[in-house]
Symmetry: C2
Subunit: 321 residues, 2 copies
C-alpha cells in the first residue's frame, strides 16, 4: 500500500495537542477531531459575545500541527494583556473573525490551517452550538465544561444538549483511518463528549482501523477522582458500545516531588490493572509515557513512539474478535 | 533605465488608500508612508490599552495594496460587533498582536504585508509614540487627531509632541522615488503631520524625484473650512520649506445633489485659482478626479491616470528652478 498510514485522533485541547506535536514529524496523515463544548475563558467569551463556536481547543491543535516556533504559531498563542482584550489569544480572535466574516467555522479552520502551514487536518466534531452536561456520582447535574471541571467529585456520565449531528468530514476521517485514537485528555470533557454524538459512535463502531484509547497518567479532580484505568475504560466502552480494541497506559516511575504536588491538589496516578483491563476485551499497551519534569503529563515523543508502533500493527485489517 | 518608476506616497488612511488602490495595478514600485498620529476608535483603544502604535491607517493602506477581494483582505477590514471586541477591526488586532509579541511595529507590518500578499510597501513615518497638536485660526490649541477633526473652524498649523525621528526606511523610500506624493488626504491630520517630522522635510527637500501635492476635492470641517487650493498649498509649502513642484487639483463638475449634501455639513468644493497657484512656483495639473456617485472623493482610477502621467514626466531629472 502506497499511502501513508491515516490516524484520526479524537480529543480536546491540551492532551490532543501533545499527541499531535509528537506525531506531526512522522510520516503519517493525521486528522485531529476536536470537541467544541468549551465555555470558559476567551473561548467562552467569544462564544457568548459573537455566537461563534469556541475556538480555543481547535487553535491549540492547529498550533500543535504548525511548524515549530513559527512566528504565526507563536502569534496564534499570544494572549493580549491590557484593556478589553485581556485574556484573548490572537488565534481565537483569528478563528472568531473568520467565522464571523464567512459564517463558516470549517472554512475558518481551513484558512488558519493554510496560514499556519499545518501538517494534517483539524476538524470540529460537530458544527452545532452545544452545551455539555454532566451527572456527578452523587446524582447532581451540572451544565458547562468549565463548571464541570471546577466542581467536586467524580462524574458518572456526560451528554450534549441539543444532541448534535456530526461534522461529516469527521465521520469520513474515522472511516478512512488505520488507527482511531480516543484521548489522551480529560475523560468527561474531552473524550466522552465525542461519544455523546451518536454518529461519531457509529463511525467508531464501524471503523476498519484499530481503535485505541489513550488513558491519562493522572486522575483529574472534578472528573475522575479515584478512577483507575479500568474505571476510565469502562466509561469509554459504555459510551462507544464497546468500540475499543486497545488501551495505552502509562507504566513507569513518576517524579516523587511532582507526584506529591499533584497529591496536594487531589490528583493521583491512574493505576492500571492489566488483567482486569484485558478482561474487558482490550489489548493493554503499557509504556513509560510521562514527560520528564515537574508536571506529570504525556511526553509527545513517547506517545508518538507507541502510536507509531500501534499504527504499524494496525495497517493490516483488524481481526474479528 | 530598467527599473520600474518608484513612487513614495505620504498620507493617512482614506485618501492614501484610494490612491494606492488605483496605482497598485500599474507597473510601479509603490511605498506608502503613513502617519501614526491617530488616536480615535479602535486604533486609539489599542494605542491606550496595549501601548502599540495606532494600526488603523496602516491597515487601510495594506488592504488597499492587497489582492482585490481576497479573503484575508476582507478579514483585515472586518469589524467585530458584540461584547468587548465591538468596533475593533481584525486587521488592527493582527497588527497589534504582532507588535505586542515581537515588540517591533515594522516587523508586524512586514508580516501582514506577506500574509496579504501586497504589491508595494507600507511604512510608518516614524516608530515613535507621538501626539498631534493643532493651533486653530482663533489661536486655541488642541491635542489629538480625533479632537482636531471633531472641532470647529480651520486650523493654522500642527506639530508633534515629542518631535520624532523618522523611520529610516521612509527616508530611503523618499530619496529613491521618481515621484514623491503628498496627499490626497486631510491636510492637517494626514499630510502636514509628515511635514512635522524634520527629517522627512529634509528628505523631501533633498529628493531627486518630482514632489507633487494632491489637493483634496472638498474642504473639511474643523480643518480647512473656507480654504481654497492656494490656502492648502501655502500650508504645505510653508511646512516643507517650499519643496513642492506640482499641485494636482480637481477640475470638473460635481454631482449637485452630493454637493448640496456636503454643503449642509459645512463642506464645499476646493476652488483652484491656477494663476495664484502658479505664482507660488508650482505647475498646476487640473483633471476631473472625482468619483462618480453621491460621495465626492477622488476616483482611484482617475488619480492613477494623472499620477502615471506625472511619473512618466518625472523619471527624467527635475530641472533646477
Amino acid at each position: 500500500m502506497n499511502r501513508r498510514p491515516h490516524i484520526a485522533a479524537l480529543g480536546g485541547g491540551t492532551g490532543l495537542s501533545s499527541l499531535l506535536r509528537g506525531l506531526k514529524r512522522r510520516s503519517l496523515d493525521i486528522t485531529a477531531i476536536v470537541t467544541v463544548a468549551d465555555d470558559g475563558g476567551s473561548s467562552g467569551r467569544l462564544r457568548r459575545e459573537l455566537g461563534v463556536l469556541p475556538p480555543g481547543d481547535i487553535r491549540n491543535c492547529l498550533v500543535a500541527l504548525a511548524e515549530d516556533e513559527s512566528l504565526m504559531g507563536r502569534l496564534f498563542q499570544h494572549r493580549f494583556e491590557g484593556g478589553d482584550l485581556t485574556g484573548h489569544s490572537f488565534g481565537n480572535l483569528f478563528l472568531a473573525a473568520l467565522t464571523d466574516l464567512t459564517g463558516n467555522f470549517d472554512l475558518a479552520i481551513q484558512e488558519c490551517s493554510r496560514v499556519l502551514k499545518i501538517r494534517g487536518s483539524v476538524l470540529p466534531s460537530t458544527l452545532a452550538q452545544i452545551s455539555l452536561w454532566a451527572e456527578r456520582a452523587d446524582g447532581s447535574r451540572i451544565c458547562g465544561e468549565s463548571a464541570i471541571t471546577s466542581g467536586d467529585g467524580p462524574c458518572r456520565r456526560v451528554w450534549l444538549e441539543p444532541e448534535p449531528v456530526a461534522h461529516p468530514p469527521s465521520l469520513e476521517a474515522i472511516a478512512d483511518a488505520d488507527l482511531v485514537l480516543l484521548g489522551p485528555g480529560s475523560l468527561f470533557t474531552s473524550v466522552l463528549p465525542h461519544l455523546a454524538v451518536p454518529e461519531l459512535v457509529d463511525a467508531i463502531a464501524g471503523a476498519r482501523g484499530v481503535r485505541a484509547y489513550v488513558c491519562n497518567v493522572m486522575t483529574q479532580p472534578g472528573e475522575t477522582d479515584g478512577f483507575d484505568a479500568v474505571a476510565h475504560l469502562e466509561r469509554v466502552m459504555e459510551a462507544s458500545r464497546g468500540a475499543v480494541d486497545k488501551i495505552v497506559v502509562h507504566e513507569g516511575p513518576l517524579d516523587p516531588v511532582a507526584a506529591a504536588a499533584y497529591a496536594a491538589q487531589g490528583q493521583e496516578p491512574v493505576v492500571a490493572d492489566h488483567a482486569r483491563l484485558q478482561a474487558l476485551g482490550v489489548t493493554v499497551i503499557a509504556r513509560d509515557l510521562a514527560e520528564e519534569g515537574r508536571m506529570v503529563r504525556h511526553s509527545p515523543e513517547a506517545l508518538a513512539r507507541v502510536l507509531t508502533e500501534l499504527v504499524a500493527d494496525s495497517v493490516a485489517p483488524r481481526p474479528v474478535r
